[in-house]
Symmetry: D2
Subunit: 330 residues, 4 copies
């Protein structure tokens, strides 16, 4: 359906750089979704969206506080530092979730010219470790951050999976908890490409148009991004897709849990299954199907499901795992 | 046909970040096109592609020599300076074309620690002014640049229009003239999005994968970019589309030339028509159809045609111009 | 006397990073000098001071408007672009002075996301061409800039020469004309090293402590900078030294003007003498005494005098010039 | 004696930017000291010297591996990230010393475009924790780094204290262990200001002149820096001063160790004394004499001695500590 929207947007001509009806409609949809007059900046990709969002919140000398395993810290080849010039203060968060006390711990640097100044807290929902923050936990982070003059950014590359898994809503989970800006993911939610930076706090988007262009994130034919979002946000399609991915993860976890030599290390909250299995079995499986090692020392790997994962896909994959572990145990 | 390719690429699943058959095929097509073992880095947009290409050629303290009217100098909101940290030495080029002597003029700075070091020459083909470099002119620029140790980048956002207009080929116009790297445009050539940075000189692409990711220009579902390029480069589709745009410009120029109060200021070489007409007529037309002022002082505007421009579009537009000028002359 | 101050500051121990009585005293002296509650940031060098000053005035996407011959544009190896990430919009100013109309000319970019946003006007007083802005000219620049929301920076590496030459004062020339921030030069005014960034407009210095440290411009033993300034600002020593340099330039100009083959191209307003003479004579003189070519095409060179220039120095140099020109004319 | 050198350098005039006899002489001294043809770049301050050194070793996408407590990581307000655009990969090193195995642990990122690329290892000698690397430990770090294609930088702000304490020499400790570049400290070794970046590996200094200028670290009157270094390196003055500081630390540690309520947490290897004492005693002492908290949670503070510390200074300070602890225990 997302692709159909894209084909439809291809009919006729349209003004470039966002002066088109699709972009207007998608922006209205975001305002309804967040129950707030959000400013929306459509961008190309996830790294770009994060960089644009963060830059709008930073002054020279400022630092970004984030979990050590954050995508912005480990998976963006230093893009945030390079573009914003800001340092990331990365804190150890074994399950991917930052605690408000960890923010408090770094506030001692405020006012000291030798140290970077904590200015933005960036958390990921759902986290890189497949875990979820509750609404209360996000609210507590915002309260601690705001009390000290810091702003809060949410990397929502998988925000759809988080909302679908928690029976919450963007308004309840992000707007009313006090989050300032969200990188709202499209690519991992069924789109071909495209992300949306949503500014929930008025005034923070004042410079975003210039920042986006300067970051190489302004899609000239923007309607192809916004039309996909427009389709995604209609009739809760985004939540159906994410919910399906989440369910697939649970099914996959339940199936492999039963196999000898496979340990599911945490119950999947969203669309990631973490398991340990023997090194030789991992190698055999990776030859056959791509996935990431998670923790090499522990032989832990991460399997992601998506909106496109079918029952047959799961069955095939489980059969592959079964063959690999039995072969490696012989 | 580009869209059909995109729909086809949507079938089934594929590995992310370029490890897919479409990306492999499109890369092979580029090698054939340039008649050389080019390294290709697919990117999101034109500004991003330029930034990625330039960064791969620069060391700290280096500067980019370019025409004052270059897209990288005036239309990218400072993205090159911001990302690369390099200064642009912009030189006056009334018709958009840089002359080799202008490169020589700035070489005096080489070796002086107070001045930025000219290291890359960036030219645009076809230029922002709708003009074309001949193969000999590009060859002379490369010779002058290389003799002094500088590299040459071509911003080819409209390279298709240039090749189509000149009965040349990428191999003759770019590879054999000595160009080092080309930003090969897709978006202005009929694609929904996507550009390709083509490294013609071996060794210059060593760091491009890291630079691209750091610049937020790595498309995760890269097949959607490469599949479009694959379709575009098949059966010379890219040249047909560009040729059509070029012909439309000629037709449009011929039609409006006949109108009282309209002066075509230069014969269109590619797909841009430059005309002067009265300020009030410009205003009326802009209310009705978007286009850019070119030189406000001279009442000169630029009208671009595209691969999608139809005979009917031209007829409609000419009628609009006729109405505007006759109304403004009353 | 400046050196004596430095020796005195060496006695006993003092707190680092500016928490010392010399820094406090020099700051008070600057407030008196500018007749305003200025924030002062002592820095190492001229390039660093300019970079610190400018960074405090810029937001992402902003640009600095300056004369093409500005020190920040041609003599700082791209330090402003590298550190601030901002583009310099350099405008042609044949005598080194920017006109208010030139600012107006670039304001069309405001609000257009494709273009960098003019945000700061930077002028040099006295200019790199040895010319002076009058108080009225500076006032007019500030008025035009402020009316459009831009701020004004003065690169005052030679501000002492300007004040000494014009019978003005820092308060009249800079504070009351509306200038926002000044890089107040020490090195060219007799100090061993050290510059002072003076913020005349309240609020602009909020981030300067972090910016200065991040720019590598925080002197740890700051008293050695501030003690020199303290001595310089006492009993108008800074104006005596600059006045002496200015007078030496006039004397030098008068002496060489009389020589055949030497043309003084402009009456020296401050401490720079611009002359044309034959290429062979220039070469002979440069073998003997260092100075910069100014305009190679015109055989124009720039001779600078300083606070330390003596009558004997002038006589020696004039004799050298005489020998060179007579030799080259043979 | 350093000041005397500076006064001497003030006599007569000299060419700017390092073309003077003092700079030549100091460079020769460094070559002798390192027993190698080192390239030397004199800079203003420690942060600037580190930034210049590191930038010369980095390509886009590269990262700097360093201990979490490194000065470049926590005490430079993000200057390295801001200027170089590179990420710092900071690793936990409880006693300030990096182990070769920690380098090995991060090499897995090499070649993966999503991750920054470890390219430079930066260690501090003596460390921020007052500890020393042995020659063998530095050699092992260099061997591990070089084997994987990484370069090694030593932040030698206190290299004099390290050499004085270890009966080693710069040649044995740095050149022959394989270190590539050293920030050789002057300020903490008795100079008013000035640091020297020493490139031990040929070829790495190719761009340093441009990098230094662009970083705002080129002293125009460079002779005032090099003359101080010249004096410092003559007759092993630098080692006498550092040795004196080291001895003072040992004396101070021995004296306070005897006091009730004071625990010296590690025997001073160089010029830092780490002690724990009651919070109230710390507060009283800090009201009276400046020093840094080290580990607030453990009530640990760091007291530094310097070349200028006298027996009387120590006696006074010990008396102050005695008064504070006895008062706080009442």
């Amino acid at each position: 359906m997302v692709l159909e929207a894209l084909v439809a947007a291809n009919e006729g001509s349209a003004l470039a750089y966002g002066a088109d009806p699709w972009t207007e409609a998608a922006t209205v949809s975001f305002c309804e979704l967040f129950d707030a007059p959000v400013d929306v900046a459509f961008c190309w990709g996830g790294t770009g969206a994060n960089v644009v969002a963060l830059q709008c919140l930073l002054r020279p000398g400022d630092a970004i506080v984030c979990p050590a395993g954050a995508h912005i810290n480990v998976d963006e080849c230093g893009a945030p530092e390079r573009f914003t010039g800001a340092k990331l203060l990365d804190l150890p968060c074994p399950d991917g979730r930052l605690a408000p006390e960890q923010i408090t711990d770094v506030l001692g640097a405020l006012g000291d010219e030798h140290h970077v100044q904590p200015a933005v807290v960036s958390i990921t929902q759902s986290t890189e470790y497949g875990t979820l923050y509750t609404e209360d936990q996000i609210g507590a982070i915002c309260q601690t951050a705001h009390a000290a003059g810091l702003l809060v950014h949410v990397d929502g590359a998988r925000i759809a999976n988080a909302v679908a898994a928690s029976q919450s809503s963007p308004a309840a989970m992000l707007t009313r908890t006090g989050v300032d800006v969200v990188s709202f993911g499209g690519t991992k939610n069924g789109m071909m490409y495209g992300e949306a930076v949503c500014f929930l706090t008025p005034g923070l988007a004042d410079r975003v148009r210039f920042v986006r262009k300067m970051a190489g994130q302004l899609p000239s034919k923007m309607r192809y991004v916004s039309a996909q979002f427009d389709a995604l946000l209609s009739d809760d399609l985004w939540l159906s897709l994410a919910g399906s991915a989440n369910r697939s993860a649970k099914v996959l976890a339940d199936r492999v849990r039963a196999l000898p030599g496979v340990t599911v290390t945490q119950d999947p909250e969203v669309n990631a299954v973490f398991v340990t299995l023997e090194r030789s079995a991992i190698a055999m499986l990776q030859d056959w199907s791509f996935f990431w090692d998670w923790d090499t020392a522990r032989n832990e790997v991460r399997w992601m499901t998506s909106w496109a994962t079918t029952e047959a896909d799961i069955a095939d994959f489980v059969a592959g795992v079964e063959a690999a572990v039995s072969s490696s145990r012989r």
